[in-house]
């Protein structure tokens, strides 16, 4: 089965954390970037041709993903392509997913053998068997398969795409940008469609100035009864990092075994760029409790309920609690941090004190000295 993968890198919406990067290249979970999950899901399902749609601030994304070698995408046949605006002459900046896909029409056309397209957003992280999703799509005989999960809709949080099912499991309602009540399922922004059908729909939509995937393609066609929807319900852990507070909480959730075991299944490991750091060194007087610790750290002080990324240094006498500390950051002697997100390459001076709250963690920008 020839399947084409599309990953949407997504513009950043997390303030300082995504000031200079896409959601796809936002570091997550100690040694990953958010895009690693989508790329791993696609390649583990045997997909060997993947396009990454991105429009702004993609330097860190390209630096991280490179030729896609870590995911086995560096081959000549198939492989990885970056789909950026202005890469072919007729395009301008994208207003929506449909426009970006239309601009990448030649990429869609090129792989003449691809029968299906699986799309995934880098902003939603999960460890999912996409070959099962594809099977479900084919069996259903419907036009679009949407992967959904429950437990996200709560009546307050606006969902990009919410779907309500009737008792038989058929779609009873579709809503866009809706603070759906809890009996709605949230779309995980994973879609399966046949390529021919998608290409035809792109032509039709763009010709009528319609560019929004959720609103125009899914909701619009469903309402007009021009498309049928198959819902694939996903039971595992799905992280939507829509806000800084959520990003913070989802990182800290990795100290829970059930969540780690689900997201990093031994049978389905998550691939990322290899950095060849040494193992982490735990010093004579360090005290590490309930922490997720990546490789290459030098730990001399205290850390509790925290996520430490690669090559973090915590000097003796420093205290870190409920913190997310990204690559190469240094916490000086006697510093005291609580509910803080330190981006990459931050230097925290000795005896500095930073205190945030779980709902409103302090965020220190990349490269800052505090």
């Amino acid at each position: 089965m020839n399947v084409l993968g599309i990953v949407f890198a997504n513009d950043g919406s997390l303030g300082d954390l995504t000031e200079k990067r896409t959601m796809a290249s936002l570091p997550f979970g100690g040694r990953y970037r958010q895009v690693d999950f989508a790329l791993t899901n696609l390649t583990c399902a045997g997909i060997r041709r993947v396009g990454i749609v991105t429009r702004h601030k993609y330097q860190s994304l390209m630096n991280h993903v490179g030729s896609g070698e870590e995911w086995g995408l560096e081959m000549e046949a198939g492989g990885l392509e970056y789909l950026t605006p202005y890469s072919s002459s007729q395009t301008s900046d994208y207003r929506g997913k449909l426009e970006s896909l239309y601009a990448a029409m030649s990429f869609l056309e090129f792989g003449g053998n691809d029968e299906y397209v699986i799309m995934q957003d880098a902003a939603v992280m999960c460890n999912i068997d996409l070959s099962a999703v594809l099977d479900s799509h084919i069996k259903s005989g419907r036009d679009i398969t949407v992967v959904t999960c429950s437990g996200i809709a709560d009546g307050n949080r606006p969902l990009d795409l919410a779907i309500k099912l009737d008792k038989r499991g058929d779609v009873a309602d579709v809503a866009v940008d809706y603070a759906a009540p809890s009996d709605y399922e949230a779309s995980m922004d994973i879609f399966v469609l046949s390529k021919a059908w998608l290409m035809q729909q792109l032509q039709e939509h763009i010709a009528r100035n319609l560019y929004h995937m959720d609103r125009d393609l899914v909701l619009g066609l469903w309402k007009k009864k021009e498309a049928t929807i198959n819902v694939y319900h996903f039971d595992g852990v799905a992280f939507f990092n829509d806000s800084v507070a959520e990003y913070f909480a989802n990182n800290l959730a990795l100290t829970q075994k059930e969540i780690r075991d689900d997201l990093f299944s031994r049978n389905h490991p998550v691939y990322t760029k290899v950095r060849d750091r040494v193992p982490t060194y735990y010093g004579e007087n360090c005290q590490i409790e309930n922490c997720s610790v990546a490789d290459g750290c030098m730990l001399g002080g205290k850390a509790k309920n925290s996520v430490l990324f690669r090559q973090v240094t915590i000097y003796p006498g420093a205290q870190v609690e409920n913190c997310v500390i990204m690559n190469d950051t240094v916490v000086g002697e006697g510093a005291c941090l609580k509910n803080v997100i330190l981006d990459k390459d931050v230097i925290v001076h000795p005896n500095a004190v930073l205190v945030g709250t779980p709902a409103n963690p302090v965020v220190i920008k990349r490269g800052e000295v505090v």
């Binding site: 100690g30 040694r31 490991p269 998550v270 060849d276 040494v278 004579e284 409790e289 309930n290």
Partner: protein, 396 residues
């Protein structure tokens, strides 16, 4: 097919049995033995090559090569999988002229692969062994070799006089040129021990390998035959002094020691180093490690994918290990994938890959600083059932 001419290539001798590592090399070649939490011994010479700008490495395998071959693969972790460079595994093979068969000695192993070397038409060939832990810039040694107009340069290090008789000893003139080589001398005249790292002018080496092969009495060994023959023929041989950390990890005790020497605030061997002396290893795509609130982790290295609920002191915990609640690991080397269940006690031990130490086991024990080391060892995939006792120094 065309091959780019190379000024210098490396040949890595990785075929030795490593019998003194006992159960640890029962089913695997010594260079594939895990070291330092996430590495294998061969990562050190291979990374040294890459860091020295040598991008073509022939790896001579013979003994139990399955894991080693799999580990080296296409050379990708070391960046040796591009069109202009390679990490080529060279096993013994059958030849048309009946000169084939197992590699008879170190020199014979290179002799059988003359064709591989000739493809690159190199000026210099660096010959390395796959059983030492060290970081070294071979480019400096090649430069030294070239500057001194030598036919062969041998890396040496100063060893204590009382240990000198365990090594090949090189006696040198004041200018560093070698006038005599003695293999494990009873009464050593100097303390310049050979590190088993050679730079040869390929043309000279080629000629001597062919001559050596024709000598039915030769052991086909670099130390025993090639080096003495070069000296006798009047070639200029130089000793290149290396002062950095270097450890032969050919025995249980030295393997344990070398691992322990990574630890401490100012370790004997600082494995971290800078970007130019990074050690590369094949990656296992494991997530971060998890340290539980009940855990105690003191003066230890813990590699990715491990979960620690118990006490770890002065030890190396490799990738993907579990130390259960209330378990104690002290002064030990825990190789990849080991599970130590709750309440087990492991001291002064090396636990082979994927060993499972069940509840209540007691492995190893203490010995005094002046006493002979008693390291307990479990082989790969050992299952120590509940309440098993493995005595200090016992090997299972």
């Amino acid at each position: 097919m065309y091959f780019q001419k190379k000024r210098c290539i490396a040949m890595l001798l990785a075929g030795g049995q490593g019998s003194r590592l006992k159960v640890l090399t029962q089913n695997t070649a010594k260079p594939a033995v895990p070291f330092g939490g996430k590495y294998r011994i061969i990562d050190f010479p291979l990374s040294n090559c890459v860091n020295s700008g040598i991008d073509t490495v022939g790896i001579l395998t013979q003994y139990q090569p399955l894991e080693l071959n799999e580990y080296i693969g296409n050379g990708q972790p070391w960046g040796l999988n591009k069109s202009h460079c390679c990490a080529q595994v060279l096993p013994p093979y059958e030849r048309h002229d009946k000169k084939s068969g197992w590699y008879k000695g170190t020199a014979n192993a290179i002799y059988q692969n003359i064709a591989f070397i000739e493809r690159y038409d190199p000026e210099y060939v660096v010959v390395l062994s796959g059983d030492h832990i060290y970081k070294m810039d071979y480019a400096e040694m090649v430069q030294f070799h070239e500057k001194n107009g030598a036919a062969c340069t041998i890396a040496v290090r100063d060893v204590p006089l009382e240990e000198a008789s365990r090594f090949g000893i090189l006696n040198t003139n004041p200018d560093g040129s070698i006038y005599e080589f003695e293999e494990k001398p009873k009464n050593p005249k100097s303390t310049n021990a050979s590190m088993g790292i050679y730079v040869f002018n390929w043309k000279v080496l080629r000629e001597f390998l062919i001559a050596d092969e024709e000598d039915p009495n030769s052991a086909n060994d670099f130390g025993k035959n090639i080096i003495p023959n070069l000296l006798n023929a009047g070639h200029r041989l130089m000793a290149y002094t290396f002062n950095g950390y270097w450890k032969d990890v050919g025995t249980i005790d030295s393997l344990w020691e070398a691992n322990m020497e990574l630890l401490g605030k100012n370790p004997e061997f600082d494995i971290r180093g800078d970007e130019n002396s990074k050690i590369y290893a094949r990656n296992n795509a494991l997530p971060s490690s998890y340290i539980d609130e009940k855990a105690e982790t003191v003066n230890c290295f813990i590699a990715e994918g491990s979960e620690i609920y118990g006490i770890v002191r002065h030890s190396i915990i490799s990738t993907g290990c579990v130390v259960g609640e209330g378990a104690l690991v002290e002064n030990s080397v825990v190789m990849p994938g080991v599970v130590i269940e709750s309440g087990a006690i492991v001291r002064h031990a090396i636990l082979g890959e994927n060993s499972r130490i069940c509840r209540g086991c007691v492995i190893g024990g203490a010995f005094g600083p002046t006493e002979k080391k008693k390291i307990s060892v479990t082989g790969k995939d050992t299952l120590a059932e509940e309440n098993t006792v493995i005595l200090p120094g016992e090997i299972v």
